[in-house]
Symmetry: C2
């Protein structure tokens, strides 16, 4: 059954390809069933099925008694379809995102922010989808509640409770993704022209997001133990920001971890000035030993905790969360209703809860952490032979924030690497002050192909 589907799809793709490359144009007659079955080494019934489905799609049409013909203008040439990723645009946060998200599978992506498919818990996901497939109809087709499934919110609060943060599930709002969590928070709390602080360097999409809100972005210099707290205090006094967005554990892009002293000072400044801290905890599950968390130290008075399952569980089964004061959650619910009509998909939240509860997830993450440790070491060694060295050696996770030898510009290297079909994340897309031109963020899990290092070697000599 499945093989038949695959064969039919292959035939359909072959015909689409011919139309896309103009080997077949509008009005052309397709080969006869028998003829095409021979050419494609397929059974006539497969060809019939492929033709029928292309008719249903409006790509071809049948004319009584005279076979099948290519219809007009139904499909654009493939070159047009692929034109969505402008290679020529400025190397900004969007450049990295769009290159990484839209590149074809032959492209290497040491610059991307996720694990390769075969590192993900796909067997657990398959099992969870089978369970959903035979589960209740309302999970399959109904809207989600405005806050998202109670089952998953309970799992989160239990996890928080283990860390020492005791909150109730109604202080947790499930969102479409971690990015949408930050977006909703900005919509609720910040207005155009307000100031928001981020780390310098920080996750590049924070900048893209804040720019979409037309918010003034100010960077706080980042050290190997978290943001520079003196600079933070000074900037808070000067700029009167509404929010400060940061990662506590396994900071993106540096992989650094907040020290308890830094955490305490940040919280003191926040409490004194009324700044709210958005603590993005998306890399939490990669930690070997848990590091200080602002939300755990302080509670949720001046901290909003967000996270998602995209890095560890699945980025296709997408869902994020916000843990915050009840008054903020109330406002966020209304905003999510207005802009998404309800919480995230019941199917998605059910699958995530199934995987988290399934028992194999913990084992999977242990294995991932073991692989990551090995992978980080290997990549550090290989980069160091090229004179590229990590700014700090992260305790866990998959990022390395590395400095290039003197005089090398990472944006220039990223642009030249396109020709080698390699997508890098150059330092300045992470830096508000544009002061990271000699840095590059490497994702160690995406560096398994030797071409990454061979290409860098060529660039550097």
């Amino acid at each position: 059954m499945e093989d038949q589907q695959t064969r039919t799809s292959a035939i359909m793709e072959a015909i689409r390809q011919r139309i896309a490359t103009r080997a077949l144009v509008s009005g052309d007659r397709l080969p006869s069933i028998r003829q095409f079955a021979k050419i494609m080494q397929a059974s006539p019934s497969t060809i019939v099925q492929a033709y029928d489905r292309l008719v249903a799609e409006g790509v071809i049409a049948s004319r009584q008694g005279s076979g099948f013909y290519v219809k007009g203008r139904a499909l654009p040439p493939l070159s047009l379809v692929g034109a969505n990723t402008p290679a020529a645009r400025a190397v900004d946060p969007f450049w990295v995102s769009r290159q990484s998200l839209d590149s074809d599978p032959t492209v290497l992506k040491p610059g991307c922010g996720w694990l390769p498919t075969d590192w993900m818990p796909n067997e657990a996901l398959r099992k969870a989808f089978r369970t959903v497939a035979r589960g209740k109809g309302n999970i399959l087709s109904d809207y989600g509640s405005t806050t998202g499934a109670l089952r998953l919110r309970r799992l989160l609060t239990s996890q928080f409770s283990e860390e020492g943060l005791d909150i109730s599930p109604d202080q947790v709002l499930l969102t479409g993704s971690g990015t949408q969590a930050v977006d909703l928070i900005c919509r609720l709390l910040v207005r155009r022209g307000d100031t928001v602080l981020v780390d310098d360097p920080c996750y590049f999409n924070f900048q893209a997001l804040l720019k979409a809100h037309e918010i003034r972005i100010v960077g706080v210099p980042y050290t190997a133990t978290g943001p520079d707290t003196e600079a933070f205090e000074r900037i808070v006094l000067q700029e009167k920001p509404r929010l400060y967005i940061t990662n506590s554990a396994l900071h993106n892009p540096t992989g650094a971890t907040l020290s308890p002293q830094t955490a305490f000072r940040l919280l003191s400044t926040a409490a004194a000035s009324g700044v709210l801290i958005v603590e993005d905890d998306i890399f939490a599950d990669f930690e070997i030993a848990p590091s200080p968390r602002l939300a755990v130290m302080e509670g949720l008075e001046h901290v909003i905790r967000i996270g998602s399952f995209s890095k560890t569980l699945s980025a296709s089964v997408r869902c994020g969360y916000i843990a915050a004061r009840k008054d903020l959650i109330e406002g966020l619910i209304d905003l999510q209703v207005a802009t998404s009509f309800g919480g995230p998909s019941p199917v998605i939240t059910e699958v995530i809860a199934d995987v988290l509860e399934g028992g194999s997830y913990r084992k999977h993450m242990l294995e991932i952490k073991r692989r990551l440790e090995k992978s980080r070491k290997t990549v550090i060694r290989k980069l160091e032979t090229l004179g590229i060295s990590p700014w700090t050696v992260p305790k866990a996770g998959f990022y390395l924030w590395c400095r290039f030898p003197d005089g090398q510009d990472s944006t220039d290297i990223a642009l030249r690497s396109m020709a080698d079909k390699i997508i890098h994340a150059p330092g300045n897309v992470f830096s508000v002050s544009q002061s990271a031109s000699s840095f590059m963020r490497f994702n160690v899990t995406q560096c398994e192909d030797e071409r990454v290092f061979r290409s860098l070697e060529m660039m550097l000599t």
Copy 2:
């Protein structure tokens, strides 16, 4: 295997319930395995499993040699969990959304905007999820491309082509939902303080969404053949709006359909003034015969077409789309990257494409249309015996926009119906001018329970 899971979950739920109702409080010892197995008529191994999972969740803890105890503050009482839906707030668009989305299954919802679970194509969805469960790993765990799956975009452009709108798949952007489609468009094209036109009455969440953008909302009086075109022209000249958001086919809430004359006049005014029209086509698949479409008549010069699969296929498998000029799509892609990081979930788009291509979907929709026709007639008859009459008799779909007998206020009726566990959608939540206090929108598919009519009868006498 599955039964075992169900039994374990039932035991867990029973314990949670006891904690929630304070029958068991923090520090209490749980019954012994043997004792509780007897009480629950379950096997000891089921109890062991349930206790183990509750330990993993942090709800209970085991103490060496002395059994299991309830942990502190891990779970709030259920009354708190349910407190998310404030019954006492103003009857505004959020009131209807939150009441409908969050009410428990015993509540009747003639005011909601979707079909009951058993009207949805759940068998086709189950099949599609089984296919996904045995499909490629990248569908299960990778991020989606920035525009969303080409396969689904191709299905959409083929469908458009059948209607006479020939565009290429790179003029289609898949989004998280229909609501997110409107939201992205507003983010791209409208700034705070700008004016946007909607129909009066219109889908209530358009107002909630525009308010979230702090946009000035102006209503265009709606007639049984579409918006009043003279009023539209006058308001466009006066207000210089950036956008006009409307439904062409099966307008929400009235169920009315645009006439070709109205469509032509709207497009002429739009072309002369530069106003962009957002045509929300979410109810398209319910039509018996296709009615005029602005995007088909004009192309995508002044029209942006949006839609989703939430009403006909699944609201859990959520996905929307935007068809627009290529220059607008480019801007929308960046915005979606910034605010959602990538397009909708590959799992979701794969399931939708599978269902649409699966063959059973067309048959399902034919059956739904047949059921709807019958249902509309029955509900109209029952409402008319109460003196409640439809403003227009829709050609298709599931909405009836009805006028109450003289002097009856539908907001008042909606509030009083809460005591009968019935959620209504009173006229004024749809009306910018608040001039629809004698109207109510009924969803005929949610009126199968006689209590809806008995309750209304009591209210009206």
